[in-house]
Subunit: 400 residues, 4 copies
């Protein structure tokens, strides 16, 4: 047994199997992929990586399964491995370049199976008698037990919420993960939270909701990430970078590539280096732009040019950032109360609300340089036909 020191969980134990996996290149690469993309431009402490997160998830999966009798010894091994490997398909800066890769390669996270097969991981699993396909199924949440890794209330979120709080200093993520783990079971093949864990489950979902606008979708990170994505896209368009290659690269190689390539990409890189970021010309919610905005997602480059044209500036100076559908988070987590299995959103007012409340966090942005802010804002407002809605959801406004 070796141990590794983690600021969140204390000592994390590694057996011979997990140690071999950790020493393989696909996991070592995660040391060089930051967990929160460019959020360190907002929270200077947010430099943590997918590597330590993966260790943390493995650690929690281990604790969770060790308390559940119905999981066999072999399945425990599989789940531990799945937890450790669940992020090996991530592109540089985590989610930042993910959209691009998907756009060009038309596939989601690289088939993790492929990565396992083309690297020494397949051999390691084989020599320990572990079935590679089963591991992948757990990672995708396609198995019952895989739900501990990939469902609404899973050890992935427990680790990242607490970890992201530790490194950003934002207290919202401080979830009582040990209580939750203590109160999770399998009941008729479903992952359920038992009565004593309901408040902790609520707290996890609320934490995630609060971390969204404060950290994960903080407007400054989003601006930086849009700039970065644009620079990488430029390299792809020039044929300098093969999109599928990104899944093998790390943060620093990607950044160096855009720095060194000259042209627009290098210009953006230099702005990111010196934190001379674009500003918000438009930043509006779903109710202000309407559902129609989503169809523009595919033509972002064209619209950037159009808006730039409208105000007579270079199209490089307009960046558009339209997230996917407002996440209608359907809360499907199950709880077991008085011997009955219910959906959490049917027993908890707060959770039921979160489905709706998450929509409020959706925002689209149009960014430009400081000096063009006003006119770009006006043009974008026209283009997207922004309605003047009142932000509040009930209409009474207070005097004063």
């Amino acid at each position: 047994m070796k141990v590794i020191r983690d600021p969140i969980h204390g000592y994390i134990e590694l057996d011979e199997l997990t140690l071999s996996l950790i020493d393989s290149p696909p996991l070592q690469r995660l040391r060089r992929i930051s967990q929160l993309g460019l959020s360190n431009l907002v929270y200077p402490g947010a430099n943590h990586t997918r590597f330590e997160h993966s260790l943390g998830v493995m650690h929690l999966a281990n604790i969770l399964t060790s308390g559940i009798d119905t999981v066999s010894r072999d399945e425990k091994q599989e789940l531990k491995v799945a937890a450790l490997l669940h992020d090996i398909g991530h592109a540089p800066f985590s989610h930042v370049t993910e959209g691009l890769v998907k756009h060009y390669t038309r596939q989601g996270h690289e088939d993790i199976k492929e990565i396992m097969k083309r690297t020494e991981i397949a051999d390691i699993l084989d020599s320990h008698g572990i079935n590679l396909s089963k591991v992948e199924n757990h990672i995708q949440g396609k198995t019952d037990f895989g739900k501990i890794l990939n469902s609404e209330i899973d050890v992935d979120k427990m680790d990242y919420l607490v970890r992201d709080s530790h490194y950003t200093g934002v207290a919202f993520g401080l979830v009582d993960h040990m209580r939750l783990i203590n109160e999770m079971q399998f009941y008729e093949n479903n992952l359920v939270v038992t009565e004593g864990g309901v408040k902790a489950a609520e707290s996890l979902l609320v934490s995630r909701f609060l971390m969204h606008p404060s950290v994960y979708y903080h407007h400054v990170s989003r601006i930086a990430e849009t700039m970065f994505t644009r620079a990488v896209d430029d390299l792809i368009q020039q044929g300098v970078l093969e999109p599928s290659e990104l899944r093998r690269m790390d943060d620093s190689r990607t950044f160096e590539m855009i720095r060194n390539n000259g042209g627009y990409a290098a210009e953006l890189a230099s702005k990111l280096d010196d934190r001379k970021l674009y500003k918000r010309a438009l930043y509006v919610g779903f109710d202000e732009v309407g559902e129609g905005v989503l169809r523009h997602r595919k033509n972002v480059r064209r619209i950037e040019a159009e808006i730039a044209d409208m105000v007579g500036i270079n199209s490089r100076e307009v960046l558009i950032d339209i997230p996917r559908d407002p996440e209608i988070v359907e809360m499907k987590a199950l709880v077991k109360v008085n011997g009955r299995m219910l959906r959490l959103d049917e027993t908890s007012h707060v959770v039921a609300t979160l489905e709706q409340a998450h929509m409020d966090n959706w925002k689209m942005g149009v960014y430009t340089t400081k000096e063009h802010r006003e006119k770009v804002g006006k043009a974008a407002r026209d283009f997207f036909d922004v309605k003047k809605t009142v932000k509040q959801f009930r209409l009474t406004e207070l005097e004063g």
Copy 2:
């Protein structure tokens, strides 16, 4: 400047005025009043006192007012004093005996003014040119500035949520109080939270909501506190203890009194000492008993006897615990977003829900000794005409 070490806020600074106040008997008494009543029977670390809480509230009030220009130097002093003194009227074990005192004396927290006048506090304030009535008005939240101490989002809650988390080990109370304080202002004489603090405000209200059932109304504390209250009531009924006297007593004197008085009170004290607690025979929500239950609050002793009679046991072996109305927490906190002042519950789905969700936390209990649990439960169920409602608020039940 003297400093005092606090595990929550680090160093708390004391000037000559606050030092004199702290050295007065009414504040020293708070060292001997536990903050969370008998919660230490559930959370062994919960032994903290009203004294350190009072220091903490003063500390936070100080930071908050120091960042607001419109508060004059004199008002800052008054508010600091008000923060420090806001709990001097508390009875032993904080809220535990409070109900009794109110029941018998027909007055709320002892007029804090009276305490100030009958002790050296009046002189101290006088010698520093501080108006005693103004201090009291701030404490009662009757002034605009007093809202920082006594409203929905106030420094009192900020301190106790974080402090109670520290000592119980329950993570729910970990509120980002420094962000919130940074984002509070006065706008047209109203205490408002500015845009950057909205998430922190939501988080405070959610924290409080989650701490309620997990800590403040944990059923084990409630049983113990009902037992304790019953013992004290016994002393009052016997004429041994004058109810108004409680406001001058501390935890240990009160406990010794019930231990030493023999009879039923001593029996309960001994059970509490050894943690041989009554058990829940009935524990049901508002929807199960209906609003009518509230009228029984005045006749609790009589109903205990009646139920005991129904099952043929001594009335000492039945304890009934009916809390006040399900707290319809009306969320009146104000936020200032884009130059407009709105109610927080009108801009936040989550907060709007909490008003309703707080009702779910209401529970009444009938407690008895282990061996009589079943029959007392049945009798109580009859007496209170408990309906079999489904706990969830939507009706769909899952198969499985």
Copy 3:
């Protein structure tokens, strides 16, 4: 398995055996014995109890033994029980009244065996096939394995240093106890620290050294504790209190007793309630008074009277506080480095120094009321023949 929430270690697991023990009166009494005596007069957060400390020690003992193969299943049980029970012989306010009990009863901590036998603990152990004598031997550190509970580097210290830091807010006690536990083994029946734990072991010993003057022997606690001890002694002298009875009493009963007894004891109690403490008239180190001072320890009452007489005040107004010999802490902890077993003080300069440095922490005090401070100081200085030594241990003094 039940769990109990602890702010230091998270969840502490209780099996049926430990749960029964915890529910017995001798352990429940520890809920009402504060861990740090009257230190809460200096650190308002220091209200934690021997009860939670005992749970913590059990928890750590459990983790430590579970990692050591040579400890049999039965011995693990015994050690767990020993850890849980190790403090049941403590008198009220922990160490405060301990001296008195020893003085009058001429025995150390009550034979823990006696407590076990006279309470339900004996039966509980018996029904689980656990040998009571073995448990006691572990507690006394008379067995090899008992060293984990009672030696220089033991789980008792690991728990209390971290716990006392948490509640006082003083950072000195933050020891890396999990690393230390990970690095402890038995080697040829000796408890040893392996190479990777040497720095953690040094850190534990340094922590303890730093906590001494800052917390455990803070002069304000010492004054309060001397006052308290004097009051209790008064009751004993009057025949109101049987010294051996103290071991069954708790903090609040003891305090109430001195409050209610009138006379000098009640006067001191009232001063403690209102924190009107005596002041230091003399407070000097070992080098200033010489070894001879130790022989005065038995005649403290007579000398108090003598000094009071010298300055013409009531002997009640002088309190003398002479601790035992300057603790020549001999550091016997063993480390295993490169396959060889050595004494820690022979491989670590820092630890070797601590033996000497602990002597610097020894101080004796003469306390009196504020107004008599100067003259009592002068008289005491004469009486004890205080030498004007230079405090530093090398003689060079800097100009300036």
Copy 4:
């Protein structure tokens, strides 16, 4: 006033001046320089940067000076700026490449004055009426007040010890920095610690001593850093990299350069990427090799070849790592006790010992690949004439 969120100090306030400085390229570069070099290969959480450390030092300097009346308003500004800028001369991976730069350029940290002058910093200072030379003098510790930044007990250490603990998870650095800051003063132009801070000062020095081998000189980091330095040296030798250029580069650019250059450097980079590190063939203390070893520091490359030759392997497979003189840390910190100013090492046994104990931390290493470990070890042992000394400093060895 803007605020920035820091996991260590909470909110750090920025005025217009510090905000401008932070937005300048030399400070933004520090975002991309890790604080602990390659320590993240040992402690996966250690990804924090010089940037956040610089903010932290500024924050503490600010608190410290705000409590000292004798520092003028202008000096406070200068010191704040000096604190913020004190690390702008650091080379990539902090100390890792520093040795190389010094070796080749024969100058220490780039004259910070030069950096200020060649960047926008000079203008920013000028426009705020701040004297650039004074700032530099403070940074170098050449002024009296500069001692708060650059002496034995300074805010630089306070920040990095606590920060490094937070990110590595190693508890040794948890210093009570707020107590220390509260207890620091200037007395006759000397920075002194007052009586109440002596234990906190001891604790800071002990922390630093314990962090050395556990974090700063952990053997795994040292191996990685020796590999990295060797790769960079290779680029310099090939004329690909100008040593002085390093001071303008960041971590990722430097790493990419060695990855991309082919040859030995790329091979080492790939080993570092995959964490296939060299192993210790020899790792011995000062007493084992004698003072003479220091003269070899200049001929490391030649000796590597020589040893490789002795065992018939490629000289690339031997790396030698000889640190500078065992740091004879002379403890010059001053304390003010009873109105007299003394050296801390003259009043504290523990501190006096640290001077000596630091020598024990000195170790030199010879590293090679796993398969050559034994023979390289033997050859190196011969070459350096390693004496078999007993590690302990007293000679008694225990049996067993």
